[in-house]
Amino acid sequence: MSTISEVFLPGVGRKFQVETLTGDRLVIVIHDDGTRELYHFTRRNMDRPASVLRLTDGEARQIAGIVGGLTYVPRNLPMAEVILGDLVLEWFTIERGAACIGQTIRELGVRTRTGASIVSIIEPDQTTRTNPEADTVLNEGATLIAAGDRRTINALKRLLIEGRVE
């Protein structure tokens, strides 16, 4: 995972500095008036940004959704996650052999046993069930979107794969 540092810029807003695994640096400045600035520094020149992008608040939110995979989840990724404060949204594909295949959400006791909840299911044929009923059957190859905190999400994953919480 890349390292992220956060600095307060008095009178302007906040600055986030991301050192990516490729060795580049991305600096995101969030102005209190909503403007976002993205500075891209390459490994070869850390003093002068290779490019600077300025976005309005609306553009930034739209782009955040796209980059964060809210509209399209990368197809070859077994799981992906979005972190909003304590809330974690995680995309999780049910792979062959998982203990939960063929069971309903109620039978598994997802909410009661783990504390996380399944907020959406994307079936292998790309049909989406948002807010699935408790008697929805989990199928192999379906992608679940689960919401919870870090601990409950991990418990949920264990429940789905191994069929037990502890």
Partner: protein
């Protein structure tokens, strides 16, 4: 006073022209507004219905300018948040103290040694110390420096200067308006002003929960009238007990800045600050007779050069503490060299206290020089550094040649330069 609306319209057209020109050239609008104010005035011609002398409306423009100062300082109060400054950490407090200390000392010494009395010297020290937040923010944004490591230091020092300015303005308004000239008189009137202000801020903190509740007003119309009524009332009341009206506005800003409504108020005040503030800078130029500028020119240039030296020394010290590269330190210096709105506000106090009139053209020229020089220097800081590095390299080589009577190895000279740039 038949054509009063037409004359005000003409003044606003000139203001709009100055702001448009500054915008077109990508520069701060403060120097343009002052210059256009100086150009017109009682000595200017009258073309038909267009009267560029602004004799009849002069008092109206200066009144609008006074409102401008109220809004500028009210906004400063909302922004200058002591709690936020303390949260920002000790490094900002230390850096800010170094920076303000050096520049204030230089400014005061300069004023005093130029033969000015104590109160005038205090005004000069103030107006040469505080950077223009507006120009600093513009430089950082325009030159795309928000991501640079020195930027958080520049912004931190600007925030420190805001708080310093709030305290200093309050102190100095007591001194200037009370008419004290002896050191003892200055100290006691300054003490009274400071006591009044600290008392008000303590009371203000105490009533913050009450203010939070009272100001929970959903109607934006009611909100604006209530806030502005408080602003003018408190400013006016301050005036009756010899605290400059602008200090009343500043204090109200400081108190209301602690409430949960401060952001809503900032949004509300900004257009009024921009409009009446522009009229204030124009009106300030209008009060200056262009023929007095010549007498103040030498002094203004001298002060500007001293300020340049002061910011470079302060920038290098602060930069070294923060482990910045030399170019980063120079960026800090040159960006913070910008002087603008606050210098004019401070010298405006001198007018209210009827101090020596030469301060006005001095401040105007000083601000014009530094408001234009600072963005240019900040933009070219890297090239300036390279030029100096080359100069030092040549000097060192010459010295070495003199001492050892042999050619210097180019490699060994270039190495420290790369180090200094933090590469």
């Amino acid at each position: 006073m038949d054509n009063v609306i037409l004359e005000i319209g003409l003044a606003l057209a000139l203001i709009a022209f100055a702001v448009a020109l500054a915008h077109k050239l990508g520069l701060s609008n403060i120097p343009f507004l002052i210059v256009i104010g100086i150009v017109v005035g009682p000595h200017a011609p009258q073309w038909g219905v267009f009267d560029f002398r602004f004799i009849e409306t002069g008092s109206l423009i200066s009144f609008m300018g006074r409102i401008g100062v109220l809004f500028l300082l009210f906004y400063l109060g909302l922004e200058a948040n002591l709690t936020r400054l303390i949260e920002a950490g000790r490094s900002i407090l230390a850096g800010g103290s170094i920076y303000v200390g050096i520049n204030f000392t230089i400014g005061f010494t300069f004023g005093y040694l130029s033969g000015f009395p104590l109160r005038e010297s205090l005004i000069i020290a103030g107006l040469t110390t505080v950077s223009s937040s507006a120009i600093v923010a513009k430089i950082l944004f325009d030159y795309r420096r928000m991501a640079n490591p020195e930027t958080q230091i520049v912004l931190g020092i600007t925030m420190f200067e805001d708080v310093f300015l709030a305290i200093y303005l309050s102190l100095i308004s007591g001194i200037v308006l009370s008419g004290a000239t002896s050191v003892g008189g200055v100290l006691s009137s300054g003490g009274i002003a400071l006591g009044f202000i600290v008392g008000l801020i303590i009371i203000g903190r105490w009533v913050t929960p009450l203010l939070n509740r009272v100001l929970r007003i959903s109607s934006s119309e009611l909100f604006v009238v209530v806030v502005f009524a408080c602003l003018f009332l408190l400013a006016g009341l301050g005036e009756t007990i010899h605290v400059a009206e602008s200090i009343g506005a500043l204090l109200l800003g400081l108190i209301l800045g602690e409430t949960e409504h401060s952001e809503r108020m900032e949004r509300l005040v900004v257009p009024f600050r921009d409009f009446f503030g522009a009229v204030f800078f124009f009106g300030f130029g209008l009060t200056i007779d262009p023929f007095t500028l010549g007498g103040a020119a030498g002094m203004a240039i001298g002060a500007a050069v001293l300020s340049l030296i002061g910011v470079i020394i302060a920038g290098l010290i602060v930069g070294r503490r923060a482990k910045l590269s030399v170019v980063g330190s120079l960026n800090t210096s040159f960006t913070l060299l910008a002087r603008g709105e606050f210098s004019i506000i401070i010298v405006n106090l001198a007018l209210a206290g009827s101090l020596m009139p030469v301060l006005q053209p001095f401040a105007a020229l000083y601000v014009l020089i530094l408001a234009s020089a600072s963005p240019l220097l900040a933009k070219e800081s890297e090239r300036i550094y390279d030029a100096f590095a080359r100069l030092f390299k040549r000097l060192r080589r010459k010295k070495k040649v003199d001492e050892e009577v042999e050619e210097t190895d180019v490699e060994s000279v270039q190495e420290p330069r790369a180090e200094a740039r933090g590469e």
